[in-house]
Each structure stands twice: as structure tokens, then as C-alpha cells.
């Protein structure tokens, strides 16, 4: 069974008296127990897709199944956690009160230990009785994460989850996501920044102008990965590839495995000392952003 299935989904809405097609015939199957990243430039349709999954908006045409059922069903909805992009909350309510509300509406009971543990996990325990209006953007984002995971959902949908977080909080969030993944849960992330999600994802799909441009398991996509090689040495180019100087080190980006192997063979002849090799889909996917 799939965690989410989009069957020929269209979303058309009116904005300023014009019709806007946010999603065009999307066919998508998100496997259970995966970390599925939806990437794409701003306005690509990522948020619309996530809003459909979470039942905040409805498809104009087509069908969507979430956890094998309809998201409007309360029993399905209580198994879903959602962090919207730039989340916002009741401003005069404290995080503790808001999480009580989340637990009560999802589970019908309130276990304060769960609230304490969730607040502790996102680093908001000290501020549990502060009003949300006093929070910084990063703190609001962390509360957003807490409310998305506190009821231990089977499907967690995170829209631009790394936005507004400092590097330590980003690492903590990645750890939380991986823990949920290890427990067999499904996590759907959206991001306009591939760097944030590449290291985490089991699957990546790129959406642009409401259409899926490319997608699949990370391993299969990695055959298209670029090799970013950092080295010491005095060359200005290698074949067609230019070398960029960064301080004492040089960086070269190679497009495929064959080029990389050739470069390794020639490295000793050219007296190059390789420092690091990074695999990245960024350059490959960048073309779809343009």
C-alpha cells in the first residue's frame, strides 16, 4: 500500500479573476516508510500538492488517497501531521495550551508527558508558558514541528521545514525526521532548496509549473549526480571542465562516473592531491529550475 496516491490530479483556482492551474494531471505514488521530497522553484505547485494531501484544499479533478482512504475522514486525518510553510498560531495562546489542543482533538485525551517531551525535543520547554506572539520566527517554526509530530502520526507532511531554522535546529530536525523514518513512518517534505533534503531523502520528485518533471528513488537519480572534487594542485582546466580556485584549494565539477574515473587515473600524473569528493544532484536538477 502507498502512503499517498495522486491519480490524475488537477488543481485549478481563481486568483485576481484569472484561472491559475496549480497542478496538471499529477500521477504520483508515495511509498510507505519513505522520506519523499518534493522539490521545485517557488510557485511550482509543491504547497498546493501538500495542501491537498492534508485536506486543506481539494483537487479540481482526479482522486487522492491518503493512508488508503479519504483525508476528509477523521480517522485518517488524525494519523497525519502537518507543518505548513511559515507556520502561524493563535498569538495569545501558549505552546503548552496549543499542544494540549492538538492532542485533545487528535486523540481525545491529554497526556502532559507527551507535551513536555515534544517541547523538549524541539527546545521550547523553557518557553512552554510564554504566549506565542513573543516568539521569534525560528521558535514558531519549532512549535510547528512539535504540533506536527506530537500525536505520533503515520504520515508527516512538512512544507519547507528548514526555513527559519539555525544550523543546530536544522540538524535536530533531520534527526527527528530520521527517527520517525526508522519507526516505519512516512515523511513528505517540500523544499525549494535541494541541499536541505538531498542527504535525507529516499525519494525525490521535482515539480515545475504544476507538472512532475523528474522523480524516483534517490539511488536511481544518483546516476545523474555530479562529482564535486576538491583538490590541491595547479591546473586551470581539465578537458572541457574548468577549475575553480577557492583559497589554496581547487574545485572541479564532473558530470558523470566515467569522467570521474578518468580524472582519478590522471590525478597522480597531474600531481593533484584530492581532498574530498561530493556527490550532488544539484547541478543535474538545476536545469529544471530554469
Amino acid at each position: 500500500m502507498f502512503a499517498v496516491e495522486f491519480d490524475s490530479v488537477w488543481k485549478i483556482y481563481k486568483k485576481d479573476f484569472k484561472q491559475v492551474t496549480a497542478l496538471k494531471n499529477i500521477i504520483l505514488k508515495i511509498p510507505q516508510n519513505s522520506i519523499f521530497s518534493i522539490i521545485g522553484p517557488n510557485g511550482a505547485g509543491k504547497t498546493t500538492a501538500l495542501k491537498i494531501i492534508t485536506g486543506i484544499t481539494y483537487p479540481t479533478k482526479g482522486k487522492v488517497k491518503v493512508l488508503g482512504g479519504d483525508i476528509s475522514d477523521s480517522n485518517i486525518k488524525k494519523r497525519v501531521g502537518f507543518l505548513p510553510e511559515n507556520p502561524s498560531f493563535f498569538s495569545n495562546i501558549t505552546p503548552f495550551e496549543f499542544l494540549k489542543f492538538v492532542l485533545y482533538t487528535s486523540e481525545g485525551s491529554i497526556e502532559e508527558d507527551k507535551i513536555i517531551s515534544a517541547l523538549n525535543e524541539v527546545g521550547l520547554l523553557k518557553e512552554k508558558n510564554e504566549k506565542v506572539k513573543k516568539f521569534s520566527k525560528g521558535m514558531v517554526q519549532r512549535l510547528g514541528i512539535a504540533q506536527a509530530i506530537i500525536h505520533n502520526p503515520d504520515l508527516i507532511v512538512l512544507d519547507e521545514p528548514f526555513s527559519g531554522l539555525d544550523p543546530i535546529a536544522k540538524e535536530k530536525l533531520k534527526e527527528i525526521i530520521l527517527n520517525f523514518f526508522k519507526k516505519g513512518k512516512t515523511i513528505i517534505l517540500s523544499s525549494h532548496n535541494l541541499f536541505d533534503v538531498e542527504s535525507l531523502s529516499t525519494h525525490i520528485t521535482l515539480i515545475k509549473e504544476g507538472e512532475i518533471k523528474i522523480g524516483g528513488m534517490l539511488k536511481s537519480l544518483q546516476s545523474h549526480a555530479n562529482y564535486e572534487i576538491e583538490f590541491y594542485g595547479e591546473i586551470k582546466s581539465w578537458g572541457k571542465r574548468k577549475v575553480k580556485k577557492v583559497g589554496e584549494k581547487s574545485i572541479i565539477i564532473l558530470e558523470n562516473e566515467k569522467e570521474f574515473e578518468e580524472f582519478l587515473i590522471n590525478a597522480s600524473d597531474l600531481k593533484l592531491k584530492i581532498v574530498s569528493v561530493n556527490l550532488s544532484l544539484n547541478n543535474y536538477l538545476k536545469r529544471y529550475y530554469q
Binding site: P87, F90, N92, S106
Partner: protein
């Protein structure tokens, strides 16, 4: 239903902790202090003016509260997108709408009670008079009016932007309080055939004169016994219809 009640409780807390609500509470206190000073300095010691102002305050403050806060209740949640973190919870949109309506109405009850208590306390302390029955009856009528107006405020705030909601609410209030007089003058000048039609219009257009018995209460004129029951029936029925209409539109609204 338990979830709706809990959501109402959370929204109610959000409202009564707002600075504007506190501001109105303190303003009503200031209003009564100024009334007494004004009475002492200019008019002399007459309880009548204070009584009149107490009954007027029971209309003015809830109106201001609903106009400035109530009409933004849902629209500000939509604009700030905080509605997403609410609607993701396992309940329907109509339940969220109902929770907002109830929370807003309960907040106006609190505001009305504060003004009521301030009014009767002022009369007792400064004029030594126990004056409860008339303001209490006026309070009941005001609460019925507040329920209907809460329905309109939440309806407008769920469908329109904050500025449009404020405008529509103001117009509704204006029409509501002038419709009876306007229809009366039209009826006098019209033929017999038009009268049944105008009588129906009187109920269809929100008619707030059904809740306005201030003059009668102030001058101890008897109000027919069933008036309160009929006004309650009108308020509940009208609010229910607004609720149905609002839910119909709100369910289809793109968020």
C-alpha cells in the same frame, strides 16, 4: 462535539486575552467614571442620565467589539495562515466555524456582564438605588442581538477580507437599526397590497429593532410578556440560517 467545545474554549481564551478586549473592558470602566464626573459637574445628581448611559453602553461596547475584533476573527487566521494548523485537526470546517461563533458570542457575554455590573454598581454607589430589573432585561435583549451580530461578524470574516467584513458589518448594523422606521414610513405611504410584502421584508432583512426596548425600560413602560421569547426565536432562527449559509460558502473557500 467534545472537540468543538474544546476548540471553542481555545478560541475564547485567544479572544479574551487580546489587548483589544482588555482595552474595551478598561474603556467601559473609564466610561462610567466619566459619566459620574459629568453628572456631578454639569447635570447635577440625577441617576437617570447614568441609567440611560448604562443601557446605551450595553449596546455600544459589544457593537464596537464585534465590529473591530469579530469581523476579523476568521479572516485574520486565513491571512496569517494559522488556520492551517487548526484545519489539519480531525474535525470539519463547520465545526471550526461553530467554535468561532460560540467563542465570539461567549466573549460578548463577558463584555456585556462587565458593563452590566459596572452600571448597576455605579447607580448603587453614587445614587444609593438598587436598579437591576431594567438593565437585566436590556442585557438579555442585548445578548440576543449580540448572538445575531456575532453570526454576521463570523460569516463576513469567513468569506471576505478584513476590510470588506468591517464595511459589511457596519452596513448590516445600520440597516438593522433603521429598517423598522424606514418600513413604517414606506408602509404609511403605500397601498394595502404592498403591506404583507413589507411585513415579510421586516423579518428577512436583519431587524435589530426586535432587541431595542431601551426607551420602554428607561421609562418603565410595560413590554408585552412574549416579546422576549419572540426576540429569542428571531435571534436563534436568524443566527442558525446565517450559520448554514456561512458553512455552505466556507466549505468551498480556497484557503
Amino acid at each position: 462535539m467534545k472537540k468543538t467545545i474544546y476548540t471553542t474554549h481555545v478560541i475564547f481564551k485567544e479572544i479574551v486575552r487580546d489587548k483589544f478586549f482588555l482595552f474595551l473592558g478598561l474603556s467601559s470602566l473609564l466610561f462610567f467614571l466619566l459619566t459620574i464626573i459629568f453628572n456631578e459637574m454639569v447635570v447635577g445628581q440625577t441617576a437617570k442620565v447614568t441609567k440611560d448611559l448604562t443601557l446605551s453602553a450595553l449596546n455600544i461596547f459589544p457593537f464596537l467589539f464585534l465590529l473591530i475584533y469579530g469581523t476579523r476573527l476568521i479572516s485574520k487566521e486565513i491571512e496569517s495562515k494559522s488556520i492551517y494548523t487548526i484545519l489539519i485537526r480531525p474535525f470539519k470546517r463547520w465545526e471550526y466555524f461553530l467554535a468561532n461563533l460560540l467563542a465570539l458570542f461567549f466573549s460578548t457575554i463577558i463584555l456585556n456582564l462587565i458593563i452590566f455590573l459596572l452600571g448597576i454598581t455605579t447607580i448603587f454607589i453614587f445614587y444609593g438605588e438598587i436598579w437591576i430589573k431594567a438593565p437585566f432585561i436590556h442585557l438579555l435583549f442585548t445578548l440576543l442581538e449580540s448572538l445575531l451580530l456575532s453570526g454576521f461578524a463570523v460569516f463576513y470574516s469567513a468569506i471576505f477580507s478584513s476590510s470588506v467584513s468591517v464595511m459589511l458589518f457596519f452596513i448590516t448594523y445600520g440597516i438593522g437599526h433603521s429598517i423598522e422606521e424606514s418600513l413604517k414610513s414606506i408602509t404609511e405611504g403605500s397601498g394595502v397590497a404592498l403591506k404583507p410584502f413589507l411585513n415579510i421584508i421586516k423579518f428577512i432583512i436583519p431587524n435589530l429593532s426586535f432587541f431595542d426596548y431601551k426607551t420602554e425600560l428607561l421609562y418603565s413602560i410595560k413590554i408585552p410578556e412574549r416579546t422576549l421569547t419572540l426576540s429569542a426565536l428571531y435571534s436563534f432562527t436568524y443566527t442558525f440560517l446565517i450559520f448554514i449559509l456561512a458553512v455552505y460558502f466556507f466549505r468551498r473557500k480556497e484557503l
